[in-house]
Amino acid sequence: MRKEITSKDVRKFLSNNIVPIIFIVLCAVCIPVAGYTGQYLVDQIITRIVRNSFLVLSLLIPIMAGMGLNFGMTLGAMAGQIGLIFVTSWNIVSIPGLLLAAIIATPIAVVLGWFCGSMLNKAKGREMITSYMISFFMNGVYQLVVLYGMGPVIPLSNSRVILPRGYGVRNTIDLLSVRKSIDNFWAIRLFTDENGTGGITIPVLTFILIIALCLVIVWFRKTKIGQDMRAVGQDMEVAREAGIKVERTRILAIIISTVFAAYGMIIYLSNMGTLNTYNSHSQIGMFSIAALLVGGASVSKASIKNVFLGIILFHLMFILTPQAGRNLIGQAQIGEFFRVFVSYGVITLSLVLYEIRTRREKAESARNLALGQKQEEKA
């Protein structure tokens, strides 16, 4: 028998998916205004998926462990950047360079993740704001190390990396030696013109890596530690009663997320080809979180589906809005404004919706409890 769809179901669906729905509507409006070809849009979206997936996927595990959105992923991004600074200075090129950057970044990310996780254990219930503030604090430490430590204390001498004054890393580092090395290792080009230009490029190896990470996450959920994380995410006290080491599990979730974020940042920057030493990491957390939320995730629930839907919608918006702005009012800058207020707006909206939903659920369960008690009394 088919279940009838009531207005309540529609309302529930809309309230659960309001953010992706808003974005789908916005994209549908912007696509004809921007006037881009379908081929161009598909190519751009593939590039953005390749660039951002790893970073956004790194957010899933802390959500699973009930720690909300890990703004501390910036710490992993910093570790990834430090790895890239080293390999650029040593002139290690191509895929070996990226692998070595990942090896260097891993212990740094583990230590930073452990620190962040330990701090978050001391601020249970306020994980998101705490991780946000930790990212600012660690940004200061990162700047201190990179600006004054690299050169005299950490021996780096390559003039492409170190400032002419002999200490401190340059504002911008050219990553030409590793640029797109994973993407170009095995790339398929479709629909190219006679000159072999244009068309859609599919970086197969990068996609394999992303799919592998997705499979790891799916597998991880089924492992003992994955189940423990889910139990901790649902109710810490119940998990503790069941013999799960809650604090250790939470620290592990953050460490895994930070390490994945470091790898994600290496992939992201290798795709971009430029490292903005003092800025690149600072906004990556915000944009990754916004992308995840746009995909329909919430503070307490996120899936791989949300990651990809979010990246597609969020970045489609950024591709479209500058051109749409130029075509509408002659200002491409509107796209940049859009990027900022949409990111923060989406995060705010998701947090508010989450709070409303939680309160509604609590009220509903209280009502059901009261009703049950009344019925019991009557009986």
Partner: protein, 165 residues
């Protein structure tokens, strides 16, 4: 307190082995992936008090790559991965006979090195024909960047909110 037997259990050795493998992999990647610049140079050069005149014509192939033709006062840069490389030189003698030198194997010790064709043609060992090449930054390139200023210009990390139009 844990006993030594408890600390040095199988898990400890598995972890230790993993760390050793990762360090070995890092060392391998460093050596395999390191790119050095080799400048193959056809300038008149003086080594140990002896002057070696630039060749009028030479054809040089590094690591079996496509051969490049050289005239006097010519220098070509090759980015090379790894430490050990080979160079094959063909040159014209005074009677315009094309002479092919046996392939010379050499090691690069520095990030940027210069190898002299006239010295190799004269039969000097490869180590004597190679010298470190130090790139002097152009004066305009050496102009001070100021990261502190860039950081100070940044907002408190709250994104592009301070962006001007």
């Amino acid at each position: 307190m844990k006993s030594a037997k408890e600390i040095f259990d199988i898990r400890f050795f598995v972890r230790l082995a993993c760390i050793v493998v990762i360090i070995a992999l890092a060392v391998f990647l460093y050596n395999f992936g390191k790119e050095r610049t080799l400048l193959v140079d056809n300038w008149t050069i003086e080594i140990n008090g002896t002057s070696y005149r630039a060749e009028d014509w030479a054809k040089v192939s590094v690591d079996g790559q496509k051969a490049q033709e050289y005239s006097p006062r010519m220098r070509i840069s090759f980015p090379l991965r790894g430490r050990t490389h080979t160079i094959a030189i063909t040159y014209d003698d005074k009677s315009f006979n094309e002479i092919e030198l046996p392939v010379v194997e050499f090691k690069l010790e520095h990030d940027s090195s210069l190898i002299s064709i006239p010295a190799l043609v004269a039969g000097l060992p490869a180590e004597e024909c190679i010298q470190e090449f130090i790139v002097q930054p152009a004066p305009e390139a050496a102009a001070e960047e100021n990261p502190e200023e860039a950081i100070a210009e940044q907002d408190a990390g709250f994104g592009d909110m301070t962006m001007e139009i």
